[in-house]
Symmetry: C3
Subunit: 256 residues, 3 copies
């Protein structure tokens, strides 16, 4: 038993910004860039190779002001934007792109070649198959699963697409190739395949479109309609403190 | 390659009881108390802060005779009772309270501000949202999920409550604010919201009360009714070797 | 911050083959054998004891050419065949047997005393209860759960059995004692108990046999029937580059 300083193993060709803090027992592999003001937790691996035989490693890039929680793992070839938060034991596999201000929850995994738009939040244990595309301001709740093989087993991989502002509830399973529009909500534990237009409320096993989400009787405690949700919720969103319509017009976001 | 002794990093203001054993590469942060006879596994973190900018840490307390399996993680401000068992990669987030004789399975997470009563068992990968209250002698099976947001996303968090002696089967999703009585059983893969009285058998998607659990035709191999289960099962329970009714009277537990 | 070599802690009575590579912060406990050409990742534990009080450890054996990804964990008493791949954070608990050429995905767990046949693949976060028996060439998709207690809680554990070539889709929950024949497919999110004959397509909650899988209208992009799948898929399977029927005859595998 002893009182020691941290042990950080750093490979070749690594660029570390200003004011980056490292936990204990951290491993940074070759060809990694870490932006200013990042916090890297204990037992974290950055730049793990997906091919142990490869002699060179693609660039792994972490933007500024990211928090990488303990025990999490970022494969070589990934890019995290600025202000990204990786929860404990999150895994981002090779060549995934995570936008600015995203958070990836405890134990969640991106299986590789995934794209996540800015300000999206994946909660604990979300499992995202290869080639999934998730838009901006998308929230995904625990244990949602994004599959990609329509005929298991096959080599015919088809990623899922999720439109901006859509909410995917806990335990939802998205079938290979599913495409969900913007400003939609998929209800807890649904199994969803096929294409759904914007503003859909989707529920069931198999999931069907119950109707326009914006017309569904989902009211908050003050008796206001909750959807479209950006009028009711703005915590850490770019329209926080602003009128959502004003912000949306400036950003060229059309509601429906 | 070398043969080394363990590396344990210990912060300030840490009190360690008698006969505590540590694995390798263990990190104990500031302001932690560990009771006598605990076993702390490899790659464990105790007292991780939820706020990397904070200068002081709330007390993290582990009772006596606990087993903390490898790769698990206990945040600052949590309290574990005596004889608690944390499985590999379990995560207990800030300000959670885990009672005596509980076990928290592999990969399971308590998201913070959770309360778990004595002798409860959470199996692998159970995910418990903030502000959940789980009673005593409650068993929760793999991949059960406790949600807390009735209108995602909102700030209107409502924890789930589970009564004493209730069983929550694998893959169950509990909706925000659900309240389940005592001595109940929720069937596999059900999606359950709302309030349910004691002695309920709950099944379906959405979950409905099928009837009194104690009247359901669940018989064991000897042809005896299995519920209320404490008459049939006592492994490591405080009534082991005793008559359950005698014990329950002494403990002031009324059946129904 | 420093640039250090790997730290590998190796117990007594450990036999390591030729050309084995170790990552950083690796722990190999007593009585372990590792075959030639294995790759052991960072933060891996091999031979963890299930009984911290035990004085001796049963043999833990890893065959040749295995890849053990970072953060994964193999308990004492397990045997992995040759060419096995353990994904990041996989856990294999005590006395499990994993056949040659298997892969166990990220975060997946075998809870102990499990048997997995050659060439089977468990994807991310599959949870396999004690005493499960999985055949050869079985593919199991994310978050499938194998339970083993028919009357929770009881001591009447009944493992699940899965026949050769069967596919278990994402989110499936198998009830204690379920027995699934060969060349079958269980659809996404089904809850399945009881016995099912070979060539079954199983779907629903509760899961029912919809019909013979080989007669179901599952066609690939070229318009061919996808099942029995070995005629359409052979990546890394022993019949790759061969005619499946020729291979099957030689191997004494009868279709139905």
């Amino acid at each position: 038993m002893s009182n020691q300083s941290s042990q950080v193993i750093i490979g070749n060709n690594v660029i570390i910004g200003k004011n980056v803090s490292f936990g204990n027992f951290v491993i940074i592999y070759d060809h990694v860039e870490i932006g200013d003001n990042c916090i890297i937790g204990d037992f974290v691996i950055i730049g793990e190779t997906s091919n142990p035989q490869a002699s060179t490693s693609p660039l792994t890039k972490i933007g500024k002001s990211c928090v990488i929680r303990s025990h999490s793992l970022l494969y070589a070839g990934c890019t995290l934007g600025d202000f990204v938060h990786l929860g404990n034991r999150a895994t981002i596999r090779e060549f995934s792109l995570v936008g600015n201000h995203c958070s990836i929850g405890l134990g969640a995994e991106l299986q590789g070649n995934c794209v996540i738009g800015d300000y999206s939040r994946l909660q604990s244990f979300v499992s995202v198959g290869q080639h999934t595309k998730i838009g901006r301001f998308v929230f995904i709740y625990p244990y949602a699963v994004f599959t990609n093989d329509p005929l298991p087993p096959s080599t015919q991989l088809e990623g899922v697409e999720i439109g901006d502002f859509t909410q995917v509830s806990a335990g939802v399973i998205l079938l290979a190739g599913a495409s969900i529009g913007k400003f939609s909500l998929i209800s807890v534990n649904s199994k969803v395949g096929g294409m759904f237009e914007d503003d859909s409320f989707i529920e069931g096993n198999p999931g069907r479109r119950i109707g326009k989400l914006s017309k569904m009787p989902f009211f908050n405690k003050e008796g206001k309609r909750h959807y479209p949700w950006p009028y009711q919720y703005s915590t850490n969103m770019p329209w926080q403190g602003l009128d959502f319509d004003d912000w949306a017009i400036k950003e060229n976001i059309s509601l429906f």
